[in-house]
Subunit: 83 residues, 2 copies
């Protein structure tokens, strides 16, 4: 089995109102040293081994997980160790 960690982030040029709201809350809580907040998604997939896992993850991100007009994605594939 493979464990795939997918990180989806808004592109630099896209406004992040959710992140701005969180930053405002942090400022209200006296964390003035927080200068920027960007909120994305973190998705863990558990997949059966196959030769083309990376290609499949690319396709899954492009088709379903990410909106590539406004979001970037990157991923890490790890071998899952069963004890």
């Amino acid at each position: 089995m493979k464990k795939v960690k997918v990180f989806i982030t808004l592109k630099e040029s896209v406004l992040d109102p959710q992140g701005q709201a969180v930053m405002q809350s942090l400022h209200n809580m006296d964390y003035q040293n927080v200068k920027d907040v960007r909120i994305g998604k973190y998705i863990e997939l558990e997949m059966e081994d196959s030769a083309d896992v990376a290609e499949q993850v690319d396709a899954i991100c492009d088709k379903l997980l990410a909106n590539t007009v406004i979001e970037n994605y990157r991923y890490e594939i790890e071998e899952e160790v069963h004890s």
Copy 2:
């Protein structure tokens, strides 16, 4: 400046209906080899340097970003390089 990457995930024992819905969609798209999907949050904070950044991030996660009853969090603190 420090760049802090925060990963928030549901605890193992907590059901993830959003992840199950994504997995069902992937199965409908013929990705039968996806055996589990868990959906979390990925948050990037940009913070001014200070001696207690790690403590501050812990407090921020506990108080605002994560619901520690059902979620775990971890984070990485990186030095931000300005070119």
